[in-house]
């Protein structure tokens, strides 16, 4: 046990030290955007169920930050088994504390703590659930690529030149900090939950390119869902996204409009070890938005519209997502 305690202490200490020492590097502006990081986040709608790991792209412009993000999503769900069954409308408000904290040049950690405020309107009766959602923590390893050196030239400064290309490997966990309510699992939209009640594994691979004018962020994530204490297990989820942005820099600010495609593939939900029918789905979204960086503040907004979808036996329809955030670069 002593080993474990020491280990903990070391981790905390290391984190703390790097927080301080890396401070200067994080907000250094090199050209327009050499520090672009992709963000993988997470289960914006509680359960990673209808929402999205594909909702990644908080931050185009800065590597490390602490910030707040607001996400609005709405859905329409069929309440019944017939073609003309009545529709309920769900609107999901998510308020997130999120951060990306560097550990050293190669490693960083991203964290997310949401507060969920979900409303369902059926036959003019409103049902609201709210509370702390499921927190996520992902550790990342960044592998940058460098320009090839000419073998004939003598390298005086002995420093490799970044090519702008990099890969990120992420390994994370989603914790059941939000409450899962069994009674709600009867709803047509299984995402109407503050939390999944499960511990989930998150595996991510990202590729980024940031040039002087243009940049590309891609991310693919797999969510391995655990079973909760109600013997309910959300389906594993694959999320992907590609965003392309352009950077316009002035002395005072940096503006980066972007467009992107993202999507999610959900496996079927299992309960008591049995697969539940019509609980899988796919969705492909188009997004556009922009980021604005002024000194240490980064303001962002994006709008996401589904291009094609088939969620939960076509009984649930995602309408749109809006996201705004303010981050403070570390």
């Amino acid at each position: 046990m002593k080993d474990l305690q020491n280990f903990k202490k070391i981790v905390v200490l290391t984190l703390f030290v790097f927080l301080i020492t890396n401070n200067s590097e994080a907000h250094e502006k090199k050209g327009s955007c050499s520090n672009h990081e992709t963000f993988s986040f997470f289960c914006d709608l509680c359960g990673c169920s209808t929402s999205s790991g594909s909702f990644g792209f908080g931050t185009l412009s800065n590597a490390n930050f602490v910030g707040v993000r607001y996400i609005y999503q709405n859905f329409e769900s069929k309440n019944g088994i017939f073609e003309n069954s009545p529709i309920s409308k769900e609107s999901f408000n998510t308020y997130q504390l999120w951060a990306q904290i560097p550990i050293n040049n190669s490693f960083y950690v991203s964290a997310n703590l949401p507060y969920q405020d979900l409303t369902r309107n059926f036959n003019n009766v409103k049902e609201n659930i709210n509370g702390i959602g499921d927190a996520s923590l992902i550790g990342w390893y960044k592998l940058p690529f460098y320009k090839k050196q000419d073998e004939n030239t003598v390298d005086f400064n002995n420093e490799k030149i970044a090519s702008g290309h990099s890969l990120q490997f992420g390994l994370g966990v989603k914790l059941p900090t939000g409450k899962f309510e069994q009674r709600l699992s009867d709803n047509v939209n299984p995402g109407f939950q503050v939390g999944t009640g499960s511990v989930d594994g998150i595996f991510s691979l990202g590729y980024n390119y940031g040039g002087n004018m243009y940049g590309v962020n891609t991310l693919i994530s797999y969510y391995l869902k655990g079973e909760n204490k109600n013997n309910y297990q959300f389906g594993n989820q694959l999320s992907y996204s590609v965003n392309v942005f352009r950077a316009f820099s002035t002395q005072k600010m940096n503006i980066m409009p972007f467009v992107g495609i993202s999507g999610d593939v959900y496996n079927e939900i299992e309960q008591y070890g049995e697969t539940l029918k019509d609980t899988d789905g796919t969705i492909v979204n188009a997004s556009f938005g922009s980021e604005l960086a002024i000194e240490k503040f980064i303001f962002g907004a994006s709008y996401t519209l589904p291009l094609s979808q088939s969620l939960f036996g076509d009984n649930v329809e995602s309408k749109q997502r809006i996201s705004v955030y303010v981050n403070f670069a570390l």
Binding site: D3, F7, G80, F82, E83, N84, S85, P86, Q182
Partner: protein, 265 residues
């Protein structure tokens, strides 16, 4: 580090063992009972059934209804070990009336004190079997009054109406003529009682602390366009005690039920 590894290994073992411990073993379930709800949901094809809506059928005919009721009885469920739980016979007759549906048009039939088990299929009869009818008026208990109140009886001698559809119909030659399908066994001379067995798409887990629901879809279109096509133009606009017509309707109704899904809560 070695201590750490051992700790993890031990933890892993403990977790695995903890997970595999079966607290649903047969012994633990002895004496345990729980509720089981059958939700009947009437539709016409893929459309929800709504009073007053015109539905098309074959032969260019259409109908709309103001009354839609049927009797369900002898409900029993079979568990994964092949054991059957029969709901107490004296309480085992129900009237499913569309008029009693909730705002989603679902009619709840709740069985209380069902033996705790993992159930895989349900069997029920549509109507009243000869055995129950043979118990005489006294033997029907409260159900006789209930059926009378709901208009599901002829005289006692003729017995119960197993299904009752009232409304209007149209064909290529007539419009909005009265439609009345009152099908039953007609005393003991003609037995139109039929049973249907439906397999659950997922195991239905009945426990003291659960309240599972089985969502049963009843496709009213099948009453006329079932195993045998029954056209209004051929006399199926008025079905009462006919020896030829009523068994055809009874057989058609037998095929109108399906389990859409189950909820385990």
């Amino acid at each position: 580090m070695k201590t750490l590894k051992f700790t993890f290994a031990l933890l892993l073992c403990a977790t695995i063992f903890a997970c595999s411990s079966d607290d649903d073993s047969a012994e633990a379930l002895i004496g345990q009972t729980g509720p089981l709800t059958l939700k009947f949901d009437n539709g016409v094809g893929d459309q929800d059934f709504i009073f007053g809506t015109t539905y098309n059928k074959s032969n260019n005919e259409s109908f709309q209804l103001t009354n839609l009721k049927y009797i369900i009885s002898n409900v029993r469920v079979k568990d994964s070990n092949g054991n059957t739980f029969m709901y107490p016979v004296e309480d085992n007759a129900f009237i499913i009336s569309e008029a009693n549906g909730n705002n989603a048009g679902e009619i709840y039939l709740t069985l209380d004190n069902v033996t705790a088990a993992n159930y895989t299929e349900v069997t029920f009869g549509v109507g009243i079997d000869q055995e129950r009818f043979a118990l005489g008026a006294e033997g029907q208990g409260d159900f006789l009054d209930e059926a009378s109140d709901e208009g599901m009886m002829w005289s006692w001698a003729s017995g119960y109406k197993f299904i009752r559809l009232d409304g209007t119909f149209s064909t290529t030659s007539v419009t909005n003529e009265p439609l009345n399908v009152h099908m039953g066994s007609v005393g003991s001379s003609l037995d139109n009682y039929r049973e249907v067995t439906l397999t659950f798409p997922n195991t239905v887990i009945v426990r003291q602390d659960t309240s599972p629901e089985v969502h049963i879809k009843a496709d009213i279109a099948k009453v006329f366009d079932g195993a045998t096509t029954a056209n209004f133009a051929d006399g199926y606009d008025q079905v009462h005690v006919d020896e030829v017509e009523t068994p055809i309707i009874a057989n058609n109704i037998n095929g109108m039920f399906s389990v859409h899904h189950v909820h385990n809560n």
